[in-house]
Each structure stands twice: as C-alpha cells, then as structure tokens.
C-alpha cells in the first residue's frame, strides 16, 4: 500500500491555543480514512491543512510524492475534491454551473465536461432536471449531492469530506450514507472523511483516526479501538457514543 498524502511533524496553533500538536499521518491510496473526535480535537484543522486552507506552523506535507508548496498548491488543489457541511455551493450559480465551474475555468472541452456531468448525475443519483436550479431551490440533501459532483468533476485522486452529512435530517442522511459508500467503492476513491459520529465512522472507515485535544490518540479499525484502546479516553469516547446510538 502506498501513501497518497504524508504529513510529517505538522503542527498548527492559533495564538496561544494549539489546534494541532506536531503530528505524523499517512493517508493510504484507495482507502477511506475517517478522522473522528470531539469538537475542537483538531480533525477539521488536519483536513484544512491537507488542502492548504491554512498554513502549518511546522512540518511538511507531501501529496503523491510531491512537496506541497505555495507554488504548486493551486495545481494540487485541482487533484483534490472538497465537500463541507453546508455544501459551499455558490448561490449565484446554478447547480450545473457550480459543478462545471472549475472544468470551464481550466478550459476543458464542453463535450467532455457534459458527458462527465451526466455520469456524475447518475453516480450521485441527482436528477438532471434539477441541474438548472439555483442552490436555494434545492433541498439540503440535493445540495450535498451537487457539492459531491463538483468535488468529483475533475476525477480527483483525493476526496476530502468535512462532516458532509452533519446538517441533514436522519432519513436523508441514511440514504446519502449508503450512496456515498457505494460511490467510494465504485470509484476506488481515496477518501478522508471527518465526522464526530462513531456509527458513521465505523460504517465508512477502512481506518479510523481518533483525535483529542490536538493529538492523534489512536489509529486503527473499530475493533482495534474497542478491544485495544491506547488510553482511557478511547474507551470513554466509544462508550459515550455507543450509549447514544443504542438509545
């Protein structure tokens, strides 16, 4: 197995508050890595560091064997798809224009992008009739599907999802979870998925990365976490979440 992304000694602080202590992490190709932990544990910070929305205070990030620098960051971003909780769709553009924005910007032929769009509609189960709608005219679930299409448009090597289902009601959420998992499998996609929901993490993860207070506490499968907790916090976190899920 090869690592698509490697973080070496990466840290980030905001003023006096440490968001991320020096951290090592490898993201394996073709796998779904789930970052999980309580609010403020640094999981979103880690994700934002990978796509360079924030600059690390120390450490190095390699993407596909290439050092991420100021000069190549925009080119690398085009090889990464990014979906956030609110969808991040641009309100002044239709669903179609949102999805095609980047492809048009870099001058991809219309025919190629048109075909890709149809593929994506089918893949994400998004009705083509809705493509000419503006984001405000779509439901939350529909918006997340458009957002996913936009992220996948340029066939990125890496897909980053920051709590993509966090704002959806349970029924929509369940159906999207199922669709997402199928999509990842069909595409053999490398995914980094951020959530605070353990059930969701277990459902998606090839590897779970549990974080707390700016540190990675334990990496492994759900069984590893349950059977061989690295420290008491791991059991505490799992038990708390399990309690909620059972009820």
């Amino acid at each position: 197995m090869s690592a698509l992304v490697k973080l070496a000694n990466v840290s980030k602080r905001y003023g006096d508050a440490v968001a991320l202590y020096p951290t090592e992490l490898s993201i394996e190709s073709g796998k779904t890595t789930v970052l999980i932990g309580p609010s403020g544990c640094g999981k979103s910070t880690l994700l934002r560091l990978v796509i360079c929305l924030i600059q690390p205070d120390s450490g190095l990030i390699d993407f596909d064997g290439e050092r991420v620098t100021h000069d190549n960051v925009n080119a690398l971003r085009r090889r990464i798809g990014y979906v956030i909780q609110e969808g991040g769709l641009f309100p002044h553009l239709t669903a179609r224009a949102n999805v095609l924005l980047m492809a048009r910007h870099i001058g991809k032929p219309e025919e190629e992008t048109g075909n890709r769009l149809l593929e994506l509609c089918e893949l994400t189960r998004f009705s083509q009739n809705l493509l000419s709608r503006y984001p405000v005219e779509l439901s939350g679930g529909q918006r997340q599907r458009v957002s996913l299409m936009r992220a996948l448009m340029l066939s990125p090597e890496l897909l980053l999802l920051d709590e993509p289902l966090g704002a959806l009601d349970p029924l929509v959420r369940a159906s999207l979870q199922k669709d997402l998992k199928e999509i990842f499998a069909r595409l053999g996609q490398t995914v980094v998925f951020v959530t605070h929901d353990l059930a969701e993490a277990i459902y998606f993860a090839d590897e779970i990365v549990l974080m707390n207070e700016g540190r990675i506490v334990q990496k492994g499968t759900s069984i590893d976490l349950r059977e061989r907790p690295a420290e008491p916090f791991v059991s505490e976190f799992i038990n708390a979440q399990r309690g909620i899920t059972i009820v």
Binding site: R48, I51, L53, N74, A75, L76, R77, R78, I80, Y82, I84, Q85, E86, G88, L89, F90, P91, H92, L93, T94, L101, M102, H105, Y134, P135, V136, E137, R150
Partner: protein, 522 residues
C-alpha cells in the same frame, strides 16, 4: 485681507443687484483663489465639450445688468453666420474671466475699473490703451466703452435736487443741512466717504449708515436726502432719482465694455465693436429697470435694438432647448463623476475588505470626505492648483462625494461572504483573480450596486451645486433664480433635478434585475 477687500470693490456692486444670501459663498470662493492660476488643457474639458468650434458662446456675471448686456451681445452676433449660445449668470468676475481665458466662452461684458483692479490687479492702469495692451498678453481683446459708466455715485430725489439746484457733488457744499444715508461699506472704506468728504470739502454732519435697500425707502420717505448708489442702478429710474455729477472725477471709471477672445473671427469682432457708444446711463438704467420687473432679459435687450431703430426681435433659447442643455450637462457631470467613483471605488472597496491598517485608512478617508458638506468640498477644491473654478472641480468634488457609498458597500459586500464559500472557492483551486471575478464580486453584486445607486442619486442632487462654480447643469436656473429672487426660474431647475433623481433610481432598480445574478434574487 486688505488687498482682497480693495480689489473686491466692483464685486460688491454686483452683489447689490441680487439677493444678499449669495454673497458669503461668492466671497468665500473668490477669497480662496490663488493669484497665479494654473491652466491645463485637460481631458475633462474635451470630454464635456458640447459646443462645436464654429459656435460662439457668450457668458455673463450674475446680476441684472450683465444679463441684459449678454443678451445685447447675443442680438448683435446673430447677424453673423453660426450659432450664438448665451450662458447667463455663470458667476463672479473670476469665474467668467477664467472661462474667457480658457476659451470656454468667447465674449462677456465687463467694466474697465474691474479689469484694472480685479483682473490685472494694477489699479494704476486706467487708460483704455494700456488696459487693452495688457489684456492682449492673455489673448483677450476689449471693445471701446459702450457709453455708460457704472460707477459709484451719490443720488438724490429729483424734486429735491431741482428745488435746491443741485446737479453735481460740489453743489452739496452749499447745503450743509442735507441728511446723508450711506451704506456701511461706503462709509467705512478708506477710499469711500472719508476721502470723498475730504476731496469735496463736504460739510454735512448728519451722516448715518443704512442698508442699501432700506436706504432707497428712506430716501423716498424723505428721511435722508442723499445716498450712495451705482450709476445705472435700476432703482434710480424706478424711484425718480438723479445722479449727482462727479465733477472732480473722484470715483474711478467703470466703463462698460465687452471682452472677447482674440481668436473670435473678424466678422463677429466687428459686430461687437458696433455696440460702442450706443448705451448711455439713462438707457442702461431703463433697461435694468425693465429687466428687473419682467425678468425678461432678452426683452430688455430687444428694447435696446428698438432704440437703435433695428428689429427688436432677439431669438432666445426656447425653454425646452435650455432644459435639454441643462439636463445633458447635468447628466454629464453626474455620470462622469459616478463613472470615476466606480472605477476607483470598487477596487478601493476590494482592498478595504481585507481589513488591516490599509482598509481602515481607506474607509476612514472616504468617511471623512462624506462628512464635509458638499458646498465646503467645492470650496476646498477651488484653491487647489489644477482645479480652480472649473468643470473639473465640480467633477472631482462629485467623484469624492460619491466614493464612500461605493467603497463601503463593496467592502461590506465582500466581507459578508460566508467563510464556507470563500474556502470552497480556494479549495477548488481557483486563482485569486478568478475567485474575485467569478465568485466574490458576483456574490457581493447586490451590495455593490446598491452603493453605486446611492452614489448616483447623491450625485444628481449634489451636481446642482456645480453651477456655483460655473459648471452648468440644472443648478444653473436654481442659482440664477436664487440670485434674482425668481421662484419660477428656481423651479425650472429644481423640478427636473428631482425628476432626474427619481429616474436614476428607477433605472438602477431595473439594472439590479439585469446585473444581480438570478440565484441571489430568489
């Protein structure tokens, strides 16, 4: 300060003929004008040039006599081929003089005393030839005197003067009991009453200061017997007064002449020169009186041509034609300054939206400019080299005034874009410029457009003040109307300006629909 007061002598005569409330601003503006005035042949003048080369433009100052003389020049020049445009009431001496020097106008009526004291600033230069010679260095020519001398004078009731046999100022010596009511200014000036009394050896003891307008009433009621005036004042004819001859030539001469640009063609120059010696004090006084009563300056000028036995019909601009000219100029002023505000304001707003010290400085500056009253902003720009009394000053003031709404709305609009959208744009890999053009500016478009709309409406309103510095527009009739206390004329400018503001508002509402992306309007 002394110098300014002294050179302002004739300016005072102008202000007497119109409403006193226009005086402070005019004085304020003029006292700010630097002696050496820089002239630039500049883009603005070219851009707003609305008169073609073969036309001739006549200007005038803003008092009755200057209006009438302007109409007379217009009537005379209509005998030459080509269009004659009259721009009445452009402003005070300095404004019309600048307009003549820069070629904005080609002809205007002036007085020899004013030329020596205010324009050349050489009171000793009195003879026509020496004045003419000095004017030539400015590219300006001067006709011979038109025949009347609008200078300081002492006036009395005709009946009283005839009863006492008083015809000249020296005759006052024989009547020491006469009561004198003089304007405060004339009373106080070193070259006014104190020296006049000394030169003529006047014995009168009952000398009091009295307001000019009230003085005429006091004279009519017999409360005073003698007062100071200007020799062609319309009130002289209206009140049946007589001007006492200045038999010792104490008062400087203010012979009326026309000044013209030496580039004026020969035919027109010759026509102007035919006006020489054709208007005496009595005629001018009557024309002034008629013009003040009827507010019909072209009509008064027609009376002059009738007196010469010529056809009295002067083709005067129809109202619709004038309205069109004012409106076009108004839109040029407001539109051009708005365009500049947008070109400068939007980028400044973008920079300001990033916050930091630079952002604070930009928003602070724009805010401070906005707190300056528009009138004061105009006045502040006038002494600045390059600006002065010109259309550029008006445009610059309007531009600065329109800046804040655009800068602030652009900055706020951009700052209000949620972080999630900004980060999505960054994460997609769009370059900073593409982010701005394709994402941020369209999302902020509603806010930016509403800033531009605010600016446009403010500009339409504020542009009426541009007429104060001779820049024209719908303020022209408003200012004239104020000066002449003529409400109809005020409304001729005020109503179209208000309608224009509404139309602009309406146009922008329409533009909103065209320019704001549909997704933001749902």
């Amino acid at each position: 300060m002394n110098r300014i007061r002294k050179t302002r002598k004739h300016e005072r005569s102008e202000s007497r003929n119109h409403e006193p409330n226009s005086k402070p601003f005019q004085g304020f503006l003029i006292s700010w004008i630097p002696d050496s005035f820089l002239i630039f042949s500049c883009v603005f003048a070219f851009l707003i040039q609305s008169v073609s080369a073969s036309d001739v433009v006549i200007g005038s100052k803003k008092f009755t006599e200057s209006y009438v003389l302007g109409e007379i020049a217009k009537g005379a020049l209509q005998n030459a081929p080509g269009k004659v445009v009259f721009r009445p009431g452009m402003g005070g001496t300095i404004i019309v003089w600048q307009a003549l020097k820069t070629g904005e106008i080609q002809v205007y009526p002036e007085y020899t005393g004013t030329i020596s004291e205010e324009i050349l600033k050489e009171p000793a230069v009195r003879s026509l030839n020496s004045i003419r010679e000095r004017l030539r260095s400015f590219g300006v020519g001067m006709t011979d005197p038109l025949g009347f001398n609008n200078t300081w004078a002492l006036v009395m009731r005709r009946s009283e003067a005839e009863r006492l046999g008083i015809r000249c100022i020296s005759d006052l010596k024989k009547n020491p009991d006469l009561k004198l009511g003089l304007t405060h200014e004339f009373l106080d000036r070193q070259d006014g009453w104190p020296r006049l009394r000394e030169r003529y050896g006047l014995p009168q003891q009952d000398v009091r200061g009295i307001d000019h307008a009230l003085g005429y009433a006091a004279l009519a009621r017999g409360e005073i017997d003698v007062k100071d005036a200007y020799s062609t004042d319309a009130k002289i004819a209206e009140n049946n007064l007589v001007v006492l001859t200045d038999d010792q030539n104490f008062f400087p001469r203010y012979d009326a002449v026309f000044l013209y640009g030496l580039s004026l063609d020969e035919k027109r120059t010759a026509l102007l020169k035919t006006l020489k010696g054709t208007i005496d004090e009595t005629l001018m006084t009557h024309l002034n009186a008629e013009a003040e009563q009827t507010k019909d300056y072209a009509g008064a000028a027609a009376r002059y041509f009738e007196s010469r036995g010529e056809s009295g019909v002067i083709e005067s601009d129809s109202f619709s034609h004038k309205l069109l000219r004012w409106t076009i100029r108004h839109l040029q002023l407001a539109g051009f300054s708005l365009l500049l505000s947008i070109i400068v304001g939007v980028p400044l707003g973008i920079v300001a939206s990033r916050g930091g010290a630079v952002g604070h400085v930009i928003l602070g500056f724009a805010g401070v400019v906005q707190t300056i009253p528009s009138l004061a902003l105009l006045a502040l720009l006038v002494p600045v080299p390059f600006f002065g009394i010109s259309v550029r000053t008006a445009i610059a003031a309007l531009f600065l005034y329109g800046l804040l709404p655009i800068v602030r709305n652009t900055a706020t609009g951009l700052q209000d874009i949620p972080r999630s959208l900004r980060e999505s744009a960054v994460a997609l890999g769009l370059s900073p410029i593409a982010r701005l053009w394709k994402i941020y500016l369209p999302i902020a478009s509603r806010s930016i457009l509403s800033g531009i709309k605010t600016s446009a409406v403010i500009n339409i309103g504020t542009a009426t003040l541009a007429a104060l510095i001779g820049a024209g527009g719908l303020g022209e009739p408003i200012i004239s109307g104020l000066n002449l206390n003529d409400h109809v004329t005020i409304l001729e400018g005020a109503i179209p300006a208000a309608v224009l503001a509404l139309l602009v508002q309406w146009c922008f509402d329409f533009l909103d629909r065209a320019l704001i992306p549909k997704g933001l309007r749902l």
